[in-house]
């Protein structure tokens, strides 16, 4: 089968201001990235990346964003991302930056990576937390995100956690 090959960029939006996340929307993000490419690579870059460029997934709570671009020009997009320093909405500017986590060929690989990444994050959080209640709640959330297939794996990680706790 012949198909258009894409590259998917899994990025994380990092911002100090919690209000920044509130205004994270698909349309705003789209314009933001497009403008950034235009600034960095000019009209050619903007046009090349505009081909099949979309925001495939966006989560305002975690700040995770999945961008799609044609395989031939993804580097233009990638190189333009660091130049985004502000998220602008309704006249308000919130400083932020993009952290590219993963570049994949399919959505599926990006999703897989995101699972791994988030799990790692949770474990780090668990290790770092000091309060007992908080620890409890994090544990709960870790438990909740397990499907059947992952159960044994998770229990393994929990035992690990227990082990760290014991220390």
């Amino acid at each position: 089968m012949v198909r258009f090959k894409h590259r998917y960029l899994l990025c994380e939006l990092v911002s100090e201001d919690p209000r920044c996340r509130a205004c994270l929307e698909e349309r705003i993000l789209f314009n933001l990235v497009r403008d950034a490419i235009a600034r960095a690579h000019g009209a050619f870059g903007a046009a090349a990346c505009a081909l099949a460029f979309t925001v495939k997934y966006l989560n305002a709570y975690t700040g995770v964003v999945l961008l799609r671009c044609r395989k031939e020009f993804y580097q233009l997009l990638w190189s333009a991302l660091p130049f985004i320093t502000y998220l602008e909405n309704k006249g308000q500017r919130y400083p932020c930056f993009f952290n590219t986590l993963h570049v994949g060929g399919t959505i599926r690989t990006c999703q897989k990576f995101l699972i791994q990444y988030n799990r790692r994050q949770l474990l780090i959080l668990l290790q770092k937390c000091t309060n007992k209640e908080e620890r409890e709640s994090i544990k709960k959330s870790v438990m909740s995100c397990s499907l059947e297939q992952q159960e044994d794996e998770l229990s393994g990680s929990e035992s690990e956690e227990d082990a760290t706790e014991m220390e």
Partner: protein
Amino acid sequence: MSNAREKKHAKKMRNQPTNVTLTSGFGITDEKGVKHHNGNEKSFHYQKQEPHAGAAQHQQPKSTHVSSEPCMNEQPSKGHCKGEKGKGQAGWRGGHQGATREIPKYITASTFAQARAAEINAMLKAVTQKSSNSLVFQTLPRHMRRRAMSHNVKRLPRRLREIAQKEAEKTEHQKKEHSKNKCRKARRCHLNLLLEFNRRQKKNVWLETHIWHAKRFHMVKKWGYCIGESPTVKSYRASYRAMTNHCLLQDLSYYCCLELNGKEEEILKALSRMCSIDTGLTFAAVHCLSGKRQGSLVLYRADKYPEEMLGPITFIWKSEDGTITTPINRKLWLWTHPTLKQDILTELKVVCQCVPLPEVAASIPEVVLTPPEEKSHIEQTKNCKKRKRDDGEKNANNPVKKIVGDGTRNPFQPYSWTSPATGIVISDLTMEMNRYRLIGPLSHSILTEALKTASLYTGIGDAETLPHSWWIETCKNPDRVAVHHHQEAIFELLGGIASPAEIPAGTILGLTVGDPRVNLPQKKSKALPNLEKCQDNEKVRQLRLEGVPVECSHSFIWNQDICKSVTENKISEKELNQMRSELMVPGSQLNLGHRESKIPILLIQQPGKVTGEDRLGWGSGWDILLPKGWGMAFWIPFIYRGARVGGLKEGLIHSRYKGAPSIPDDYPDCPAGILFATEQENNLLEKYKRHPPAKRPNYVKHGTLSPFRCPWEQLTRDWESRIKAQEESPVSPCSSANGKSDTGKEDTCVVEGEQVPQLTCETEALQDSPGEPEEMMDTDSQGATMSRDTTDEDICGKNGGRAKSTFNVLRNRKLLKYLSAWCQPVGRRNQAVLRASRMHQQELTRATCLSILCSYPRSLVWVSLSLLRKGNPELHTMICIPSKEDFLRLNEDRLYCGPQESKHSDPFKAKARKQKEKKKTEKGQKQERGTAGESRCTKGCSEVIPGLWLGPLPNITDHCSRTLLGFVTQGDFSLAAGCGRALGFVSLTGLLEMLSSQPADKRGLVLLRTPASLQYRFASIIIDI
């Protein structure tokens, strides 16, 4: 995007995560719940308990510990998350709440964790669950695929088996249940095949030629029968050629026969209430009454003429057979179309005061007096048994029999009704006989070649052992033998006549013929007229002039017992073939001797085109009536002689070229016609809706108000009110010219005053005779019309709420003759004038018009239209009145094709757009809300169909630039005339109005416009009688 494609896409995206955003007003929990959680991201409703959403926390019970049950007010949103583990979720939720409430400092951390967890969940779901449209084994990489994976689940890797199993089950359900319990050989064995066939003809009656037809025709289920519609091969032109030059064969066995048995006077008295002398000859016509000819007429509900038409029929009287039966009791057969049968039958019962035969009703539980059909079945089983015993098989109690006749009829339903008062017995002989129709000049040769008259019985002695005892009896009677010889001689003469049109219309010839299968030719050949026989002697001339003498129309087919015995004693195809194979010289003529069946048949000449001037006698032919069971035995010999077979469509073409209305399409005032119109409308509408709006005509813009059905009722009503308005207008000054012309016309009317009152008298007499005089037509005020309407409605009410049409079709022959003469332009009228002078033709004046309109205020006239130049009329083409400018331009330019209608505006466009938008938003909501939106969406679709007029129609006569006169019901390019020809109805009121206002040399010119076109075309009206 089409619906199916959307569905497919939705299915694919079912498991994919959707975007999650924080909207600015995210304190409102419900909205968020709806907006962001599409089934797979259940956990995000907690995010609102971030610092901003403190208000929401009041809803939650304070719980510092892990609560294992979900909160009640969040229950609804939980409904969206299918397949998740409730326990885990609840636990996680409780813990979180505790945390957020107590220590604001840590909230970010825990929400951080929750957000990640939820995301992991969503992603996990997306990654692990398959949501593509392909089957399971298609997702496998190529090197892991194995042969026959779709059939055998075990060939799949074990991890996929479960899913594949489910898929396989699903497809099995979708597939139609196919009885695979028997192998093909077993299914095709004769007994099982017969069982299957019998099962399949329980619902719709199969004709005897069904199997033959089903292999070659598109079959339709209509009127309770399975009928071939048209051949699968190309046949439009070929069937026309067959009708004009060769022979077309049709199976009309689905026509229903009703038998009336009783005294002649009683039958005539009863039936005279149902027909009127105005419409032509009735049951009492001399030729028909003697049994010499077939008659045809239109039946009305008793004493209701000219309203409440029931339908057209043909009828045959059994010829008086002076010597044997008593001359008082006569038999009458009425042949009707199956859609009309029920109405006619009930009305006949009313007219004859009939009740179901009491004995039959009583004896149903016993088998003493079973209906003849059942008897025949039993007989058939007996035959079956006998044969099986011969074969040495023992399972003779298997009750499988071939269905002969009506397979759907309930054996307990009475099929015969008798009247104690008049002594008339009505019986329903549906499917008791076969009726084939041969159309075309070669039908003579085919008949004479295929049928051989039965040989007389000459042997002596063993009469009891032979099956055809009735024939032996007949042969002993010298009178009978003489009649048989006479019939044989006449039948021989037929072979020398070139076309059936030369014989008087409706001639009946009875015959007794031998088994036509015996002299079947080896190969299919074409029967050609024998030139040697074509001699012009005295006998042939007499036959042409007078038809068949009365005594020759006698046939044994009238006798039910003989028919039954003929059906039962038929030699089966198998036995015949057996005998053929045992012949000493293979391929020689089979001689059955006295075992050969003798079949009584009846030949009826069908007149072809009887109306109009050109092509008279076109499409004439013979109808042949056979006893049941013998259908295929006659069918194949006819085809082997070169007859081409046609179906319903060919029948329609035949009637169109004949200029005759076809049943039930062209009888809009009978119940069957109304039913047909609604069915046709539904079909056409469905077909129309299958196209997207851009790929179908916008009928609103074309100014076509009702493209799928003809609103006859409204047409006649509008014309009536229009005339009334015109008559009122002379009072107002604006139309003084009109009034002047009126007075001028009145003068002329005074001049020929002696004739006019005569006509009015006549019309009044006509009006009185049916028994329901309509004394309206005080056309001065609108109040009158109102009261008139109400009276009409009253009539409607009286008729028991049945959908009664308020219009009727004009069938008064005298009036039609006048109209026909008026319609012709003066130049062409030389002959017509001569004829008119003979029959005291009225001149067209306002007064005569008025008098006609008095008696027929809401009538339609059957007209045929011939296009002057270009144009191909279609179904529901509009017939319009040309304006004066059109005539002027036609005079200037002889090649002028016709005016154009200007495009109309679409007042429903805004509405349609609004609806579309609504639909779109609903669709958007549907993705979140599932089925609720869907149902509403479908409801919305039924409201506006873009391109069709919405709601009640406005005044249809002057909706377009030319005034509407009527509609075409059948139209096509005529292969016979070489131009477009159409048949249709126009409003009588409008026709008279048009004729009186048109110049004499252009009289009878109208404009035709097809529903999907703006171009008008000129055509001339011809009224044929």
